[in-house]
Symmetry: C2
Subunit: 165 residues, 2 copies
DNA sequence: ACAATACGTCAGCTTTGTTGACACTCCAAG
DNA sequence: CTTGGAGTGTCAACAAAGCTGACGTATTGT
């Protein structure tokens, strides 16, 4: 079960290598969320609020249904988070212009300020990691992560990339 | 705020590039946990059980305190998970030989069987991603992830790598 | 007119994390 | 040999964030 093409240069597909990849993901994801988590903990917010804020900032005017699909949670779960953000004046919900059933979500100035604080913290770590590893490593990082996504998530990820052109 | 050394080849450190890295981590981590999650959902277990099982398998005989540090949760939280695993006969807890305060944790045969099912699912996806991306991309992936870890987590990660030699 | 869609909300449950308090065992140092 | 502290386990209470199911309302499109 351990060697697939013994002798060839497929050593990077060893079970041991794969396990190291798994553990690297686990430990790195912890680092990845650590800085925003610290900021959020000082307020009444959690990771779920961060995610909502991030993607509303990324795609201003997005609808609830779209956000639901991106975040992969239930309506009820998102709604709880969204309601507190709206009550606290970080997010605005406007009735859709063409389709009045839809709500278009926007960050307020205060919301943008928090988004900036959070993603600044996260970007700082990411920037340091990218710089340490170098451009080729970053390209590889991105390639592996993209290959690891579910098919629909890969589509949404690509959509977001194209949207920012 | 967007360009740091305009003109140079540091385009990979653009805020936009960093944000894409952030989103890639988010979507990829979802894929990363999706397969084991599906298996666990069919039992009475969750991700926390998976993590405990993984690291007990990785370092048989590890102590509770060590596991606590690796997983980064509280004693009470881990204990709840560990207790159900012991009750269900997946994990054995032996009183330490030299220091009888410590408990050395081991997987039973049944525990190993579950560990195998779970990590098989996870490895399959990881293997596909690694193969798609190629060995150089994998090396870059690992380099970036390692740079993204907290310092103590990086140490634990290296320790685990060395331990399997 | 009617079915489907988008959204919000109520109620209840689960997992996994948290604090705080307390007890027990055991090791080591005084 | 006593005593302090480390390692462990457990009780209680709570919070964040996910889930299902059910229901209501507004709006849209057929």
């Amino acid at each position: 079960m351990s060697d697939y093409h013994s002798g060839e240069s497929l050593l990077f597909l060893t079970d041991e290598q794969l396990r190291q990849g798994i553990e690297a993901m686990f430990f790195a994801y912890r680092g990845f969320t650590a800085d925003p988590d610290r900021i959020l903990a000082s307020m009444a917010y959690g990771r779920a609020h961060h995610r909502a804020i991030h993607f509303i900032n990324r795609a201003p005017g997005t609808t609830v249904t779209n956000l639901l699909a991106i975040l992969g949670v239930t309506k009820q779960s998102l709604n709880r988070v969204l309601r507190t953000l709206i009550e606290d004046g970080l997010v605005q919900s406007h009735v859709g212009k063409s389709d009045k059933r839809e709500r278009n979500l926007y960050l307020t100035e205060e919301g943008k300020a928090l988004e900036n604080r959070l993603s600044d913290a996260q970007r700082t770590r990411m920037r340091a990691a990218f710089r340490d590893a170098g451009p080729e490593a970053v390209a590889g990082f991105r390639r592996v992560l993209e290959a690891m996504m579910d098919k629909d998530m890969r589509r949404r990820y690509s959509d977001l990339r194209e949207a920012s052109s």
